[in-house]
Structures are given as structure tokens and as C-alpha cells.
């Protein structure tokens, strides 16, 4: 296994204990931990350069503006965007998708149009489209999943038609781990005249991502899942689409001229950033991009494939464990959802917490997928660059303890 072990030193929280045991943090798909470089970037910003941006005529304002716009340029480079003009700072993936649903969707999707999603959508890439569809009288259709939690491009092809306005899908599922064939999806969708929105919440933090290679029209992702602060995320959009869009929210900083009863808009991306943005958050995201690039996204991906394969194997070995998603770690991200016969996921979560092991238990914001899988909830362990094989062993030992506890064989 490629050794990124040394990176653990960069994450202060990994030194802490939980209920007397060393923390084993296996919940990075919910939110990642933050390296010192990011914490210090935020701190440094507030200690030396804090000011409002784009409006200043003073040195601090210049410095803050430069820090903010530098972060935008770093993000653009990180995702292979042709220029920073397509990079809109938002709060999180959810806001990015809502922005498209409001500012593009409300003007371009009409009665009887169709929006195609998959059966693995996170609520954040489902409900905004439901609200849009219900408002304008459009229909949602869902690409069905095969039993292993994947779908082939042909499954999409059968749903595409002249009525399809949009295909929205996750690059990687937060429950199944499935990595979807976004390039093939984009080619098919475009051939049918539809746009493609990619929910990159789980992929951008974990895989090398290039919007030009993916061929998508919009990509949304969250800083907090990629070593960056909470409250900052990105909507990348094709510049010609963004140029043609009206604003979503309105207010200071996104205007050209304002009159009593109408206003005209600033250039992209500013047009979509009304009000004072999360400046320190953007600076922190820039630092996170630097940090991740310093390690290398390919190395992170390789590490996660290996640790995921190890975890899948170890859990399968336990017996009485149901695993969800593709069997092959190469086809999935570092997310392993499972259930243990006779142990409710919440009970599992509590027993694991007593061992210092932090996992998630619940519907993972994917209620329809849970119904499809026929379970009320799953347990989920998820990995990042800082996880090491011993932590998988701690996970497995704790799961074993839970099984014993609930089978009546008390381990004292």
C-alpha cells in the first residue's frame, strides 16, 4: 500500500482520543479533516489581510481581493477549467446545484420536458430538480442501477429523447462508491441536446478531475470534503452558459448599473456571487488545493483504491456482512457501505464510537436509494489520504465486538 502515513502529522485532530481510544476517523465522505496548512491559511488571513474585496481602495482590500482571486485561479487549474471565469464560489455542492436549478433551470426547462437522474442521487442532486420539475410541469426519469450499484451508458441511452433537457448525476456515489462513466454520459446527453450537471462532491476530493476530459457543462463540489473549510464550495460552469444566465441571488458586488427599478449585471463569475463572499473560506480552499496537489491526486486515488480493497476484503471475511456497490475497488471510491445481520446501523455506530471509530450510520441523504436497496439505513466507512491499514483493523475488530454483543455472546 502506498504510504501516505506521514500525512497524518499534518492533521492535528488525528492526535485526539475519543472515549479514551485514539480517534479512527472513517467519515471523510461526510466531511474531511483539515491539515495545519489550511487552518493556518485561515488564521493568517484574519491576522494580516482581512478586508472586504473588490471594492477597496486600500492595501488590505487589495491583499484580500488578490488572495480571493488567487484561490479561484488555483481551483480552476485543479479541475482543468479553461479559465477562472467559470469558477463560481458558493457555500457547498448543494448551493451549486440549486444555483443551476434556479438560474438555468427556471428559464430553460418547460412543461413536459424531462430531467434524467440516476437511482443513486444524493438528496442535494434530487430535490432541487424535483422542485423545478413540480414548478414547471417537467418530469424526472431515473437511470436504473444494476444489482452491483452501477449502470451502463446504454441504460441512460434508453431514457434519452428529444424531451430531455438535462442529465444530472454524481461522479461518484456517496453510498455505493460507484464511479460513473461521466464522459460517456456527457457524449450521449449532448448528442440528444441535453446538458450535463455533475455532482462532484465525492469525486473532486478523491480523484484527478478534469472538466474538459469529463465533457460536462456544470460541476459542483464542496470544499469541506477536500481538506478545506466549511462554508465554501464551487460551481464550475461552461462560460458561454454562465454568460447567458441571469443571476440567482442579487445584491452587492454582482452589478454593473443599478437604477430604482432595474439593474444590469457584472461579468461572470461575479454575477453569481452576491454579497460579501466567504473570503477566508476561499483562501482556505486555495490552501487545500495546494496541499492536495503537493501530495498528488493520483497518489491519493491509488492509496484509496488499496485501502478500500483491504477494507472490502476484511469486512467480507467477517461473515454476516452485506456490502453494497461494485466489488472491484478500481471501479469505486473510498466509501464502503455495509450492514451486519442483526445489528442496526445506529447500534453499530454507537459500539464503534466506543472503540474510537467514527463511521456514519443512516440513509446518507439517499432515502430513495435505501428503499431500492431494501434497507432503512446502512453503516458507512469512508477513507481519505490519512487513513492507514491499522484503522481498518480497528474497524473490523469493533464490528466483531458489535456482532458478539448483539448475538448474546457478551465479550467481557
Amino acid at each position: 500500500m502506498r504510504d501516505l502515513r506521514a500525512t497524518r502529522q499534518d492533521f492535528p485532530i488525528l492526535q485526539r482520543t475519543v472515549r479514551g481510544r485514539p480517534l479512527v476517523y472513517l467519515d471523510s465522505a461526510a466531511t474531511s479533516q483539515k491539515p495545519l496548512a489550511v487552518i493556518e491559511a485561515i488564521e493568517g488571513y484574519y491576522r494580516t489581510s482581512n478586508a472586504n474585496i473588490h471594492r477597496g481602495i486600500h492595501t488590505l482590500g487589495d491583499e484580500a481581493t488578490e488572495a480571493y482571486e488567487n484561490a479561484r485561479a488555483k481551483v480552476a487549474r485543479f479541475i482543468g477549467a479553461p479559465s477562472p471565469r467559470g469558477v463560481v464560489f458558493v457555500r457547498n455542492t448543494t448551493e451549486g446545484i440549486n444555483l443551476v436549478a434556479y438560474a438555468w433551470g427556471r428559464r430553460n426547462v418547460r412543461a413536459d420536458d424531462e430531467i434524467i437522474l440516476t437511482e443513486m442521487e444524493h438528496h442535494s442532486n434530487l430535490i432541487p430538480w424535483q422542485m423545478l420539475a413540480n414548478e414547471v410541469g417537467a418530469r424526472l426519469r431515473f437511470v436504473p442501477l444494476a444489482p452491483d450499484g452501477t449502470f451502463a451508458p446504454e441504460a441512460l441511452e434508453r431514457l434519452l429523447s428529444a424531451r430531455t433537457r438535462l442529465v444530472a448525476l454524481p461522479h461518484m456515489s456517496n453510498v455505493l462508491g460507484t464511479i460513473n462513466p461521466v464522459r460517456a454520459v456527457a457524449d450521449l446527453a449532448h448528442a440528444a441536446g441535453a446538458l450535463v450537471v455533475v455532482d462532484g462532491a465525492q469525486s473532486v476530493p478523491h480523484l484527478p478531475v478534469d472538466v474538459r476530459e469529463m465533457g460536462c457543462d456544470f460541476l459542483a463540489f464542496s470544499g469541506h470534503k477536500m481538506c478545506a473549510p466549511t462554508g465554501i464550495g464551487v460551481l464550475w460552469g461552461r462560460e458561454d452558459l454562465l454568460e447567458a444566465m441571469e443571476p440567482f441571488m442579487a445584491g452587492g458586488g454582482m452589478i454593473r448599473e443599478v437604477h430604482w427599478d432595474y439593474a444590469t449585471w457584472d461579468e461572470i463569475p461575479h454575477r453569481f456571487e452576491a454579497g460579501t463572499p466567504n473570503i477566508a473560506g476561499a483562501v482556505g480552499l486555495g490552501a487545500a488545493v495546494d496541499y492536495l496537489e503537493g501530495i498528488g491526486m493520483a497518489a491519493i486515488r491509488q492509496h484509496e483504491v488499496e485501502i478500500t480493497a483491504y477494507a472490502l476484503e476484511a469486512l467480507r471475511h467477517l461473515g454476516d456482512v452485506t456490502l453494497y456497490g461494485p466489488r472491484d475497488a478500481q471501479r469505486r471510491g473510498g466509501v464502503v457501505s455495509f450492514n451486519v445481520a442483526g445489528v442496526h446501523p445506529h447500534d453499530l455506530g454507537t459500539v464503534l464510537d466506543e472503540h474510537g471509530v467514527a463511521i456514519r450510520a443512516g440513509h446518507h441523504c439517499c432515502q430513495p436509494l435505501m428503499r431500492k436497496l431494501g434497507v432503512p439505513a446502512t453503516a458507512r466507512a469512508s477513507f481519505y489520504l490519512y487513513n492507514v491499514p491499522e484503522e481498518i483493523e480497528a474497524l473490523v475488530a469493533a464490528v466483531q465486538h458489535a456482532r458478539e454483543l448483539f448475538s448474546g455472546v457478551r465479550a467481557r
Binding site: H346, E354, G362, Q367, A377, L405, R410
Partner: protein
């Protein structure tokens, strides 16, 4: 560690989880209520029949973790035979014990005391309360007081 978990998952609780009492719908009933914890996904339906001002029968259907299931089972067992004011006194005592850390009156809470181990796990308290909040809703319905919204222990 073993002792904290043992305190949470006492034999009594695991026993109620494995063999829940008063499962299933009852007929006839005077009130039905539903409870739901959106973030857990736990849900519960509760039926209550009254006779002569006392709880004559209780039925539950539910999905959820051991704590929410055991709590529903133990609650059902306790309230059969009680008058509504007695039920309300019990609800008050149980919620007081779980939420305000009130010292429980052993005569009142009886073996429900076993659920105290949940208090060390704040996020699980709502699991233990789901059945009880649903019961409050059901009682209100016997009096025609409720708006009919599902209960929640959020």
C-alpha cells in the same frame, strides 16, 4: 469501554429488542399516531385502546435501532392498565429522567430505569424518546386535540 456499552445495552434492553412486546396493530383502537426521526430514519406507529378510562391495549409497528425498539416495547408493557393521568405522569418522569437528568422515582419508572445508559450517548436519546413522543400524540388524539402531524423526537 465494555462497561459503558454494557450499561447501554443491558440484558433487559437486548431482550426487549430481540422479543419486542405488543407488536402489531390492534383492533379496535381509540387512537393511532405515527412518529418519525428524519435523521435516523426510525419510524413507529402506535395504536391505543381505552376502556373505562384506562389503557386496555397497545400495539406498535416500527423500524429502528435497539434503543428505539426496546423503549417502545418497555413503554407498551408499562402503560397497559394505567389511567391517562397516570400515563402522563409516567411520560413526565421518563422524559425528565432522559432530558433533564432528574433522579427517577423508582416506583414510577420501574425497569425503564434501564434506559438511563442512553444518556451517555446524547445522539441516541431521541431514539429512546421516539415511542414516548408518539404516545403523547396518541393521547392528544384520544382527546381530539391534535393537528395530526407525525411526532418527532428531534
Amino acid at each position: 469501554m465494555a462497561s459503558a456499552l454494557d450499561d447501554l445495552y443491558r440484558e433487559l434492553i437486548l431482550d426487549h429488542y430481540r422479543r419486542p412486546r405488543h407488536r402489531g396493530r390492534i383492533e379496535p383502537y381509540d387512537a393511532q399516531a405515527q412518529g418519525y426521526n428524519p435523521l435516523c430514519g426510525d419510524d413507529l406507529t402506535l395504536w391505543v385502546r381505552l376502556e373505562d378510562g384506562r389503557v386496555a391495549a397497545v400495539g406498535t409497528e416500527s423500524n429502528g435501532c435497539s434503543i428505539s425498539q426496546a423503549s417502545a416495547s418497555m413503554m407498551s408493557e408499562r402503560i397497559v392498565g394505567m389511567t391517562l393521568p397516570e400515563v402522563e405522569q409516567l411520560i413526565g418522569a421518563f422524559k425528565g429522567m432522559m432530558l433533564q437528568g432528574a433522579e427517577p422515582d423508582p416506583d414510577l419508572v420501574g425497569d425503564l430505569e434501564a434506559l438511563q445508559g442512553v444518556k451517555r450517548y446524547p445522539v441516541r436519546i431521541k431514539c429512546a424518546l421516539l415511542a414516548w413522543n408518539t404516545l403523547i400524540e396518541a393521547i392528544e388524539r384520544t382527546r381530539g386535540e391534535s393537528g395530526g402531524r407525525p411526532a418527532t423526537s428531534e
